[in-house]
Amino acid sequence: MSIFVNKSTKVLVQGITGKEGQFHARNCIEYGTQVVAGVTPGKGGQKMDSVPIFNTVSEAVRFTGANCSLIFVPPPFAADAILEAADAGVALIVAITEGIPVMDMMKVKNHIQNLPVRLIGPNCPGIITPGECKIGIMPAPIHKPGGPIGVVSRSGTLTYEVVHQLTAKGIGQTTCIGIGGDPVNGTNFIDCLDAFQKDPDTKGIVMVGEIGGSAEEDAARFIQENVTKPVVGFIAGLTAPPGRRMGHAGAIISGNSGTAQAKLEAMAAAGIHICRDLGTLGELCEKTF
């Protein structure tokens, strides 16, 4: 089992003919993901390798039955791409694009709230159910299929580091999700924690947060009340100065809010096993799970 995606997920790629879109679409296909369509306006009727390209998402959905969209569209057009997928009835949207203006994402979020759609990202590595499908840009070989651990993170490469340490200790993953480093995103920690709690094959969860906002504090409260599976938590940015955006648009300490210390305290109070030194995360997981 897994959450959100599995081997029957049918993926269309928005921006499949761009440099990044093409590169990663190929990697996903190679991993075994069912990439059934691409969308690039003006290139409908063409093919990327053997993948048919459509001008619009609704057309792609009609002809291929795609139920997931992977978005590589550049920032100025990305909000539009997400809305197009949502309005075309795509159930799961994974937006990789980094650098979408906040004002655009706020409008997107308010619009899709009332639609039967899940957005992962933007500014994220995507989602992978090892051994079944990879919908994103993460390096495939570091993952180990078969579970029993679910991973959820606001970061990209930091997630790879965590997964790599798990795999090195022989601990496999059910599903790994990057929810993205932007201040306004789709799926949050709580959505993933809830799904992992309900997934019978997931026996434990690793949650990787960072400075900025209060998503980790909210998640900690949720865990205390709803999650019975063991959770290992890590927060990046203990040494980050206030008032500066640390790479991710959402990673900023504003005044006294969003500090790593406050997040760690909330997580510890919720009974989460805190990893203070990233170098030892694998060992802590081995001990905990």
Binding site: P101, H164, I211, T239, R244, G247, N256, D277, L278, G279
Partner: protein, 388 residues
């Protein structure tokens, strides 16, 4: 992106948000000629830097004569202004805003910002104007009015009333206050602001409402659609190494202080975690540097050069988890940079992920004195040894 008060007020004027008469001046003569146009005294001379707390730091002064305007402008321009936001090193003042003094009867606080948790824009207002809003929020949270606005619907008249009546705006000013607030919200949305703050917003004896101060941050990701605002960037307000890094699309932040370990990482989360690891190992991170997922050899080389040009850096830790950025590309960049720039400090390299074997081979074949770390723990120990 932060902009200056005088620039924020230019935008206010464009949106019919009343501001005191005045203008920016780069020297005493200019300050005096601006003051002459204001039609009387007192006149306020305000240092223009990208930091709050200017008044307390001595950067805002009242002049009662033309001569005094000149003296104060001379004093303030060229001073190193230290506020709670500049850090102990302070900021060199290069320009002042010269403005008419007003007969103020009440000071208010007003700001608009995107609220990440609700994905709504929020107007925050308080009768405790001129004060540090964080202190107000902490001590008397009930004194802050918050009105949330769905960005799809925009600001409605009832939002305006909620703020106006909440602030107990007197009857004669009600209409102009609401018009001003509506205009401010338009400005906030049109320019993709990540913060718009007026502290204080003032009511005057002649029943006018004016923005006495103005602070605007613009979403850097939206600057492509605001060419006029992009021109407001003032690189004098930025760290020279950060300016240099931005030319190469490198995400670099100089942490200042006593940081002695430079570090280069791909990905923001891993970069923060790497800084934390350096600290935990007993050393001090000098910077944040995320070379990004799509970095090429040239970007790595430029990043390396920037790290080495920080005189406080006594050792460098490179931590790359190869995904999109392949380890062989990174290794090539590091070797190129090391040969070009010369290795003046020890460099610890930790690589993992795509093409790691090829990357390690390139490093080993270079015959450069690069210290290879097996994993993060090993990297932390080795970097700490280097600076001990």
């Amino acid at each position: 992106m932060k902009i200056h008060e005088y620039q924020a007020k230019e935008l206010f004027r464009k949106y019919n948000v009343p501001v005191p008469q005045g203008g920016v001046a780069f020297d005493a003569e200019e300050a005096k000629s601006t003051a002459r146009t204001l039609g009387g005294f007192p006149v306020v001379v305000k240092a223009q830097i990208h930091a709050g707390g200017r008044g307390k730091g001595g950067g805002v002064k009242l002049a009662k004569s033309l001569e005094e305007v000149g003296t104060l402008a001379n004093e303030i321009i060229g001073m190193t202004l230290v506020t709670h936001q500049t850090g102990p090193e302070g900021r060199l003042v290069k320009k002042v805003l010269v403005e008419q003094g007003l007969n103020i009867v009440k000071e208010l606080y007003l700001s608009i910002l995107p609220d990440r948790a609700t994905a709504k824009n929020v107007i925050m207002a308080s009768e405790a104007g001129g004060m540090d809003i964080e202190a107000v929020a902490e001590e008397t949270p009930d004194k802050i009015i918050k009105v949330y606005i769905n960005p799809l619907l925009g600001i409605r008249d009832y939002h305006l009333r909620e703020v106006a009546y909440g602030l107990k705006i007197p009857e004669p000013v009600l209409k102009s206050f609401q018009a001003m607030l509506k205009n401010l919200y338009s400005l906030f949305v049109d320019y993709d602001c990540s913060l718009l703050e007026i502290n204080p917003l003032v009511l005057t004896a002649d029943n006018a409402v004016l923005a006495l101060d103005g602070k605007i941050d613009i979403d850097g990701n939206a600057l492509y659609r605001h060419k006029d605002a992009a021109a407001y960037r003032d690189i004098d307000e930025e760290d020279p190494l950060e300016v240099e890094a931005s030319k190469y699309h490198l995400n670099y932040i100089n942490l200042g202080g006593n940081g002695n370990v430079g570090n280069m990482v791909n990905g923001a989360g891993l970069a923060m975690a790497t800084m934390d690891i350096i600290k935990q190992a007993g050393a001090e991170p000098a910077n944040f540097l995320d070379v990004g997922g799509g970095a090429n050899a040239e970007m790595v080389e430029n990043g390396f050069r920037i790290l080495l040009s920080d005189p406080h850096v006594k050792a460098i830790l490179i931590n790359i988890f190869g995904g999109i950025l392949r380890c062989d590309v990174l290794a090539t960049g590091v070797v190129q940079a090391a040969i070009k720039v010369g290795l003046s400090v020890p460099v610890v390299v930790r690589m993992e992920g795509t093409n790691v074997e090829e990357g390690r081979r390139i490093l080993a074949a270079s015959n450069l004195n690069l210290i290879t770390a097996l994993d993060l723990k090993d990297a932390a120990q080795k970097i700490a040894q280097c600076v001990q």
